[in-house]
């Protein structure tokens, strides 16, 4: 889905790192009794996985005693729009521990319609009954179609529904979309 338009950088790499660092601090303040209790950051395949891993490293950096595990979740088999979008084989789900009674922070790169998160909630409960589920995203681009809101946001980014947004460790980029 590459666009011919120039992609504009709206968040350079150093600010991506700072946003992740800030989210890590907010998670430690608000989740799992200040990180005293076990909790899991769960990246949504594929775009959320690197962010979840960066968050785990940052959380352990801030507090060496934080009882954080990191996992990944493939939601393609839980989507409500299976036939409408290409589902490429993403990374296979990895759940590091039983989720019964632990707090889970779902992590994704870009929050858009909310349908991926809806699918993720269904996928998640297959692995247990978490004590609570939170949502952290690097970018919230708006255009929600479901009653879902993030608990932790790196950057709010007003977009047109036609824009393409990509979030990488090298920066967040927007290319103005057009119906070719």
């Amino acid at each position: 889905m590459e666009s011919n338009n120039e992609a504009a950088c709206v968040l350079p790499a150093d600010q991506v790192r700072r946003a992740i660092k800030r989210i890590a601090h907010e998670i430690l303040e608000n989740v799992a009794g200040g990180g005293r209790e076990p909790f899991v950051v769960m990246g949504l395949a594929r775009g959320g996985v690197w962010i979840a891993e960066a968050l785990r490293d940052e959380l352990r950096n801030i507090d060496g005693d934080a009882r954080v595990e990191c996992g990944s979740l493939d939601v393609s088999m839980y989507r409500d729009d299976l036939a409408l979008r290409p589902t490429l084989p993403a990374s296979v789900s990895h759940v590091p521990c039983s989720l019964d009674g632990v707090e889970v922070v779902l992590v994704d790169d870009v929050l858009y319609t909310g349908r991926t998160v809806r699918a993720a909630l269904d996928a998640l409960i297959e692995y247990g009954r978490p004590k609570a589920v939170r949502l952290a995203v690097l970018v919230d681009r708006g255009h929600r179609e479901l009653p879902i809101r993030p608990d932790f946001v790196g950057k709010n980014l007003p977009t047109s529904a036609l824009d393409q947004v990509s979030a990488t460790p090298e920066g967040v980029f927007v290319s103005a979309g057009s119906r070719a």
Binding site: M77, Y78, A83, Y127
Partner: protein, 323 residues
């Protein structure tokens, strides 16, 4: 992918994609509740005009694990016995809202015909001596995963032994293993090779293989011994002189087992003729350093068929533009 009729219709990337999606299905099958909602709006009908245990149940299990509705048509208890034509049978079932037909028939090409008769997706579960694509995929999956090789079998030497002539498994499995880079040698008496091989100076087009008539020439060098079933129900001519003689020349005997490499593997698509293709106690293989993958082939069959059914509907099959 709209239908799965033949592995010849798929390129290397398609096949690798199906195998990688099967990795996800293995993860699903390992859960306490091995089920996902992906196909909950779909109806899968198995349409079997030939006997089958593992393939039909494997497909139906795969469909259920993806939350699809399943219907089973078996020719022996149907209106086919009242003279209903095949076309009418398919039309009738399609009118009941079937989304996928999983078809087995003794006539090569019938699954392809069904794709022209109705809007449903069609998966070939074995047509005559033509193709059995999910068997080829599950063989490639089982072998590559058990060797820890990802989607790469380059350098792996396979001997496929037995009744190539009547075997749709051979056609599909050779294609899948070849695409992943394995080198395959067909081992059979001339009477059990496809007609195109007989008297031909070179291997016929479409068969990326070597041919041998002597298993003992290869048995010490191969990584994979793939035994095919003697299809006695298809043998209306005298293709072999006797089962005992076949076994002596082409079966897995104690003497051949002793010569197999440590770390090599045994595969068989089932159902097995004990005492013909396999004339050893399979429980003794592990002691000789040979891994028996036959049960894993059956287990992986479910994951691979889930991957196929999921991919029919999941891979942007009705994709609209946009993200």
């Amino acid at each position: 992918m709209r239908h799965l009729i033949s592995l010849d219709d798929l390129d290397a990337a398609d096949i690798a994609g199906l195998l990688s999606t099967a990795d996800h299905m293995v993860e699903v099958l390992g859960r306490p509740q091995p089920k996902v909602p992906a196909l909950r709006t779909k109806t899968v009908c198995s349409l079997f005009f030939e006997d089958s245990t593992r393939t039909r149940l494997s497909f139906e299990t795969a469909a259920k694990r993806l939350s699809a509705e399943t219907l089973t048509f078996t020719a022996s208890s149907s209106s086919v016995n009242k003279g209903e034509s095949l076309r009418d049978t398919v039309d009738t079932l399609a009118a009941m809202g079937v989304d996928v037909f999983v078809v087995r028939h003794k006539t090569a090409g019938l699954p392809l015909s069904i794709t022209r008769w109705c809007d449903a997706r069609v998966v070939n579960a074995g047509d005559g001596a033509h193709q059995h694509p999910t068997q080829g995929l599950l063989d490639a999956f089982t072998l590559s995963r058990s060797l820890g090789r990802g989607n790469d079998l380059s350098g792996i030497r396979v001997a496929m032994v037995g009744d190539i002539r009547h075997s749709r498994v051979a056609r599909s499995t050779v294609r899948a293993l070849h695409v992943l880079g394995a080198s395959v040698t067909l081992v059979a008496p001339a009477s059990l090779l496809p007609a195109a091989f007989v008297g031909a100076p070179t291997v016929p087009a479409g068969w990326p293989v070597e041919v041998s008539h002597n298993l003992d020439d290869l048995i010490g060098d191969i990584d994979v011994l793939y035994l095919l079933r003697m299809q006695r129900e298809r043998m209306d001519n005298a293709f072999i002189s006797s089962p005992g003689e076949y076994s002596a020349h082409f079966g897995l005997t104690e003497a051949r087992l002793a010569r197999m490499k440590k770390g090599s593997v045994l595969m068989h698509p089932g159902p097995m003729n004990h005492g013909i293709e396999v004339a050893v106690d399979l429980d003794t293989l592990a002691d000789r350093g040979v891994t028996n993958l036959i049960t894993r082939q059956v287990t992986n069959g479910i994951a691979v068929r889930m991957s196929v059914l999921f991919t029919l509907f999941g891979a942007g099959s009705e994709a609209i533009d946009g993200q």
